[in-house]
């Protein structure tokens, strides 16, 4: 319950503000442009419906992870730079409760992005295969990825105590996680690429979307990748807890 108080405070201060809202307007504008291009551009509109849905899902996931990283990096280092961390630490809440409240706000932010994206997912996927099941997977895996990357970035923020450095390190992590996108299909097909794909939670999520939406494969095909993502979720929460023990004024 104490965490819920921090979560509400964060939502009021970071999400329901004019500055916070700009993110959502930009998100919807980008999704509008992408959806319109996918459906009307002479080459893109001929992509398979499942392929379009998969690409939009990847984009939404990446956006959710990216904004989660910014939230995480600001969590403690930002409070410290604004001079508000001391007041937060002397409140009756312990560090983990504060962190869970902030993590809750980051996940709420992902939830808003997901809700904004729903009409686009339905329009782009209309008449295609596996739309509903794809959206369910996006909701579950997107939430887990938001927890993983926000918690990791929050842990860095508590350790590094500099928002700029925490943000830069988090972005490097994001690029590393997104590296399968930059690798060619041939490299991804090698043993090195396969291992990199398998141990990377972001790649696991997008490969799961591919398998569910395009290849229509069942949960038994996804179980291994989902288990790895769940493992990373626990690992990131453990990292956050360890980092909080090092947090002091």
């Amino acid at each position: 319950m104490k965490s819920a108080y921090i979560m509400q405070k964060e939502i009021r201060e970071s999400i329901l503000t004019p500055k916070g809202f700009i993110w959502y307007i930009l998100t919807s504008i980008i999704l509008s442009v992408l959806s319109y291009l996918f459906l009307t551009n002479s080459e893109l509109s001929l992509l398979d419906q499942g392929q379009m849905l998969y690409l939009i899902m990847n984009f939404i996931t990446a956006l959710g992870v990216l904004i989660g990283l910014v939230f995480g990096a600001d969590a403690f280092a930002g409070e410290m730079e604004r001079g508000t961390l001391e007041a937060l630490l002397i409140s009756p809440l312990n560090k983990m409760e504060i962190a869970l409240g902030k993590l809750g706000a980051a996940v709420t932010n992902w939830g808003i992005i997901f809700v904004i994206s729903l009409p686009y997912l339905f329009v782009v996927g209309k008449g295609g295969q596996n739309v509903l099941i794809g959206i369910v997977y996006l909701a579950v895996l997107g939430t887990l990825l938001a927890v993983i990357f926000s918690a990791f970035s929050m842990g860095l923020s508590a350790r590094i105590k500099s928002m700029k450095n925490a943000l830069i390190t988090s972005f490097f992590l994001f690029l590393l996680a997104g590296s399968p996108i930059f690798l060619s299909t041939a490299i991804r097909g090698t043993w090195f690429g396969s291992i990199l794909d398998f141990i990377n939670p972001f790649a696991d999520a997008i490969n799961t979307f591919d398998s569910v939406v395009i290849d229509s494969q069942g949960f038994s095909y996804q179980a291994g990748r989902v288990a790895i993502i769940c493992g990373y979720t626990l690992l990131s929460l453990w990292f956050l807890k360890r980092s909080l023990s090092k947090l002091e004024m």
Binding site: L16, P18, S35, L39, E43, L46, I116, V124, G127
Partner: protein, 177 residues
């Protein structure tokens, strides 16, 4: 002079015989169907290639592949079939003597224009690849402005979020006063 004429005639004869032998040496022929197609962008068509073995021996391990060239004025170029066709090349294990093999090349028509499609067959025992005749392909442009009712969502949602944003801003300003 006579000798020279005889000598030159022999050379020409040798070349002609050699050419005839080379032509006859092509044990297979290939044809493409349909010979011409008129379709719209986004349509799916299938080309059928029929490879015929004219020899008394079985032909094995031949490779057949389809090629597409854009012949639209000003856009002349060979096409990369990756987006157009799933199976570009087919390996045929064996065609019996005087037998035929039928290969299928499904294709999704990605862009408008005038094209020619042709099928090539490569037999490792032949020095010359065998080509089918060219099938003319005319693809009409299709313009869709509001597929899947995307426009109301694409225009409406940013406006709706903008209105919520305005509502929250005004409410906050009133609360601050």
């Amino acid at each position: 002079m006579k000798r020279a004429i005889v000598f030159l005639s022999l050379i020409i004869l040798a070349i002609a015989v050699n050419y005839t032998f080379a032509s006859a040496a092509s044990r297979v022929t290939v044809s493409i169907n349909p010979p011409s197609v008129q379709a719209n962008m986004g349509d799916k068509i299938t080309y059928t290639g029929t490879i015929t073995n004219h020899s008394d021996k079985a032909v094995d391990n031949v490779i057949a592949y389809i090629s597409l060239a854009n012949i639209t004025q000003g856009k002349e170029s060979p096409m990369d079939l990756e987006d157009w066709s799933a199976n570009k090349a087919i390996k045929v294990d064996a065609i019996p003597p005087h037998g035929t093999y039928e290969g299928k090349w499904p294709m999704r028509l990605i862009d408008s224009g005038s094209y020619v499609a042709y099928i090539m067959v490569v037999d490792k025992h032949d020095n010359t690849p065998v080509s089918s005749t060219m099938s003319h392909l005319e693809i009409q442009r299709v313009l869709r402005l509001n597929p899947n009712n995307v426009l109301p969502i694409a225009l409406g949602e940013p406006v709706l979020i903008g209105l919520v944003f305005l509502f929250i801003t005004i409410k906050r300003r009133k609360a601050d006063k």
